[in-house]
Symmetry: D3
Subunit: 317 residues, 6 copies
């Protein structure tokens, strides 16, 4: 058998050793000096949550659990760290957390620097409101398509006196021309509504909404194939809200909804995205104070690895 252990590589050391960077990758705060192809970024911010807080602690704990992930995707052979340069480029942390609009501006500034450096971002939230400033930074050249896996459409409107909370980013993103709703697919939608028209914007704007019942009936494979076809060759963003998973798989989140995706379904769907032209992606809403046994953070780290494989086209080298 080939000797593959190289102790100078932190990824091959015992998994509980060393600092917890994402996947035990090099940590490069000064990313502009030597920009990687893909930058892993934490956004420790949850000022936009409407219910249980905690995603501010998501990046640290997802980094911690990501030490359990190795180098090669056994299901597909994908080897993202060989296929691209990937670094942990630190946190887009916020100096003015008490002001939602100002906080979003700070996050946008960080991603504008990332985008200018030619780095594709893969983000660990934070609450879902942070996707909006990310899109503002990376969709400057024109609207993106999007695969959005979530329990909620997040195309709501004013709530609790703000347009910018975690239930609203995608309506605003369409309004601002950051997303092309005809190329947006929302998968895993379920739960109860304040009113029937709560997610009306999704339907009215032309997004394709696949509720969990559709996933159950047609199977995840048929759904994601249709979704990939809708996005096609357009430049695309992928946003994965951990609350798309059933609470049994993701208790550690702020707005859990019964009856969600299993991890096998979620992994299968993310793997299918390797066909897309992904310009950025995120995994959000892991809330460690509500997690049990670390499984939500582990599942979040696993989804980030699958997203990384997809962003590198599923290539093995």
């Amino acid at each position: 058998m080939t000797e593959f252990l190289d102790y100078s590589d932190p990824q091959q050391r015992p998994r509980f050793t060393g600092l917890a960077t994402f996947f035990r990758l090099p940590y490069v705060e000064d990313f502009e000096a030597s920009p990687p192809d893909i930058g892993l970024i934490g956004v420790p911010y949850d000022g936009g949550v409407t219910n249980r807080p905690g995603p501010r602690h998501g990046p640290r704990e997802v980094r911690n659990q990501s030490s359990l992930i190795r180098r090669v995707n056994q299901a597909t052979g994908a080897a993202p760290f060989a296929a691209a340069t990937v670094s942990d480029i630190g946190d887009a942390w916020v100096k003015r957390p008490f002001d939602l609009t100002a906080a979003h501006a700070e996050i946008e500034d960080f991603y504008a620097r990332v985008h200018a450096a030619g780095i594709r971002p893969l983000t660990c939230g934070g609450d879902h409101s942070v996707t909006l400033p990310i899109l503002r930074a990376i969709a400057k050249d024109g609207p993106l398509g999007m695969i959005h896996i979530d329990a909620h459409c997040d195309t709501g409107d004013d709530y609790l006196g703000s347009r910018f909370h975690h239930g609203a980013p995608f309506k605003i993103a369409v309004d601002e021309g950051l997303l092309d709703p005809a190329k947006v697919v929302q998968i895993g939608i379920r739960g109860t509504l304040f009113a029937p028209e709560m997610w009306a914007f999704s339907y009215a704007s032309g997004m394709r909404v696949m509720k969990i019942e559709e996933v159950e009936e047609r199977g995840w494979r048929a759904c994601i194939e249709e979704a990939v076809g809708i996005v096609g060759s357009a430049p695309a963003y992928v946003s994965f809200d951990i609350d798309s998973l059933d609470p049994a798989f993701a208790p550690g989140t702020g707005t859990p909804e019964a009856g969600g995706l299993t991890m096998r379904e979620a992994q299968g769907m993310v793997r299918a995205l390797a066909a897309l032209d992904i310009r950025g992606a995120d995994m959000v809403e892991v809330s460690p104070p509500y997690d049990v046994g670390g499984i939500t953070a582990l599942n979040g780290a696993t989804i980030m690895f699958e997203l990384l494989c997809a962003m590198t086209g599923g290539r093995s080298a």
Copy 2:
């Protein structure tokens, strides 16, 4: 987008505010003065458990988690609070908890008052023994059909010196003429038995027992369609034991059995019950001391909401 927020309605306030009534509905202890169509009732009693205790704390914690539920069922469009008047009418609490027979009599008295007021009860247990006094109160005019979703048939006999524990209610209910066994379907049955004949009464009396293996092989949809056909147009009761769910979805219960229902299966089956003439329903055996991350209580609250939709015929208004 329509403005739907009305802060005078507690259901539309931030979900962690205010007292935890079921679904943040009005709390009406004096229900006879102005009876709602459906009354939500807690039975904080677990004197009938044979193993791990705790369901006495179920109503409080299910009420707490039910704040996460909104007004409209996204899967079906059902809007139960618009389709009927629904109130939290308080707890059928027990003054003499140390005497199982006396406790059941107190519970029966409460439900007799509810029934006399023309209110259909939707109950949150408490252990499963409480279904017996509920049936005694509401099946006075003739036996009911029943959909019973559970890991256990609960048609046992004397155990630990009592006929009235949480493993026995349905044999007694048949003996007393409260249930018509030809119109009773038990779904999700599994686990180990003390002896092969442990649930013999179910089979001998003509109940239709669908073990979990049958649900897996035929699919939940075929099973529940058959079940609905069996009950037909008879007046019916629905009893949902949270231990019908797999322990991954419901760790917080006293007699967990490996290999149970998923929430998607459970929700799908309860939705199909909208075709029945439901005279009362319950969700029992949530044991908060054994819960993790509140997921059992959240799933219990979700099942109660689905039961409410079914009790209002799935109507959207």
Copy 3:
């Protein structure tokens, strides 16, 4: 023995039954119609926290654990529910939580109504920033003295872009003339500082700061006697931050500091405050997501009961 059980009184029912109001007292949202002497109020707001979030969930869980409290203080004989009319008058909840200043204004409005109705407020936070709007509402007629039991002086200045976070309320309160610093005593102060001058305002303004080491050396009794003497007969406020307790007694809080008060010390000190003219009081920073076994919430409820005894002068009837 006297028969003392009266089941019409929710306080004498089994403790896990019924809705969880503070101490199972009557719940009176429309408090102006029939104002009690003392109103128990939840402030489910934590928009001012700088570290771990969660106190928004404090009022619900403290209400829940407060069911364990009975009617008479065995240590002192105080019977606060006999000595005064006391009600749970609901939550000062916030419609615009994403804007710290606006949120404080909403809270102030609520307390202004309470104050105008002649009700003395006893508050359950929420984070410590909420004490500021409470003081604005009730100290309109002149500055108050204050007993402040806490790990932190909370007299900081701008931090993370805001003056109004949970580490700052008392500097602002002095600046606005709501507190008389010569009659303010801060007890239990400890932990590390960003800079030596972090709490300089406390010292410079004339507050009496008793660090935990002083409590340990002199004993809690000597400390609180001096403190009571400093406040004297001035109208006073009492603010109890649960993080004054050692993390062994209060793990469920956002800014824990090792080496704090025991509950016996804390209870002893609060009992000594019966000599003061207390115009309002609060117990803040219970963060249920970080609690274990409910002990922080139980200790918080116990402190609220002791504060209630002190607010009624320790009277037994």
Copy 4:
């Protein structure tokens, strides 16, 4: 250094191996054949609790944690397993748990057999109601004195329709002539009362009640010395309720009361009881479902070891 490891002795094997008997002692269900001096007994019964249940699981978990205890008391040199024969003689389990009176009769029968065999019992509860049938079995020849360490006097009367719940055993025991109230000392009493006269029986009957405030002021040593003097040379029973400890030390119990004993105080006091003529002892109310990190069960096991040292007069061999 002397070689002391003898692997044929389960107490000297790795502590996580083998069956969990109390202190990894021999397990002897048929105790009458070869009676030990002292028998360790579990009473897995909690049918008498008035609030949070769970002590039925106490014996198993205390047995489990007791594996951490070794052979010699370092503070005193006591070596109870050398000073007396001690066995785990199993559980006084109950066949009719749904009937409190019948359950107590079963427990009494078990202890009558133990007493007849000349075995002094050291019990692990179970709820505190079980002390009553124990006393009935072992105090047949005349009333005993008692050291009772607890948060509650447990001398209440009818509550929730029963005389025999866990808040009442000692009034009944006096009524039945099992205890001599002039030789009963209750230590650690605190918390709130339903009514001022709730524990009136203790005072009226001549028991010496030492509230927690007295322990704090005089110190545990002075208190226990007085207590030992009161009991004197009378045959005595020792009952230790784990809720005498502060909730920080014993979260895993059903009726926690803030502001209790530390383990150092509790251990010091139990050690002082070696001067008494102890005929039996118990440690009750450990409720594993509410425990965190096993500390309550570990403290319970430690108290049982200290009781064992006291029952063998603190002898080293």
Copy 5:
């Protein structure tokens, strides 16, 4: 109904009573005196783990949860305790845990005694490295076939300076002639790899590897039927690593991998093994410190019961 309760049988007593042996069976340390057909054995050893430790505590907690299991398999009618004599024959505990090779030799010695006594072993780990010494003891007469249900092939090579850790046992077992790789089937394999060739030995040696994706696509029934066909009538071993389950079903393990088996799939597959000639079996890697709500240990106990049914050919008597 037949009276089936016999209180002299610990399996029919209340489930929280008595010592926790496996399935509350007789405990027979001196198994050679009267050897049962099948011996249940704990191996409280985890010196071979490469990541999160804890399986040393597995046997105790699995024994504890196994009290929830009764006598008859409701899905199949199998009654293993009637079909064979089965005892808990104690722990193969280790005197020299700090030396992996020596520890394995001690374990092998224990199993050699078991094998010599004609007892078929059903083991509860401990980490997966313990399967190697078990195979050394029972495969002396020639290589065995094996059904291996796991997230990992465990056919690795040197890692962290040792050949004998929990990721390597099966390569060594083939090298030593204990397993016939042509009759080995590995099911449930998934997760990430350090290098593509990490499990190359499995493929090169001729084992049949069924990754989780294959189980999902073909269904568990087709997979296990093929697997049973591959092993055929050869003498066989069954090794079930609890991390084959999805972390939602088994959080309490040291190397969790997202996207695993459900319990229904696992139970179905184990039931199909009744057709094999099983010479021994194990269930390993339950790590109680990482478990939540005891569900991993309960699922582990359930798998052991299913293995027992398979080892007795699914016979009902």
Copy 6:
């Protein structure tokens, strides 16, 4: 008020942001290039534990919780980061964890490099066995004095086939001339013993053993003053085992002993060590899998900060 926030300093950023180094200090793996005065080192190794495992995860979690610590010790004014250069110099991780002797050799090599670079080490364990290789590396020039705060003397002998487990380091260290037993003080000793002579080496060699009862009777101040006098001006090591704390303060450890130190006592004693000539120090045995609410790790981080203050003589700059 002085503006003290400098966002370029990670210590002044929001505490949940960025990588978790010790105290958010610079992370310098290549410490020889620019050696700090004091190096903070993790030793993620627990191969020497005899009971519950887990300290291998200690360094990561203590680093995580250490973000709550700021720059200045409020009790003393000490400002260790101003008084000396301090860096996180990474982990002394082990390549051959399955071989205790080899692992110790690797750790010794790491510390030899640290010592050669002129860096004083402050270590976060890991289990207590790691202190032995540290002493081997830094006591080469002659034996050290030692303040040892612990529940256990750790001067045992062979146990479970090894001399080098976590209960033995200090006997070996004396045997090897690394410690001068006449200048060793052991504080906080308590619990039960396998045999009276278990810690005989401590007494025989001339160490000063202060049991917990002595600390309670004389007070921590008198004890530590005597201890400081015994060590005097000799070069000294400080070893703090987290199990010296009572389990209420440190549930997250492998060998908890009831009745231990409070954090106030522990902090007071460590502060008194500023008078010593400290050549190195450690805080060991934090086991995160057994922690609750992070309090053990937080207390461990706090003790490390106090040790750092002591190592810099309590200087404020």
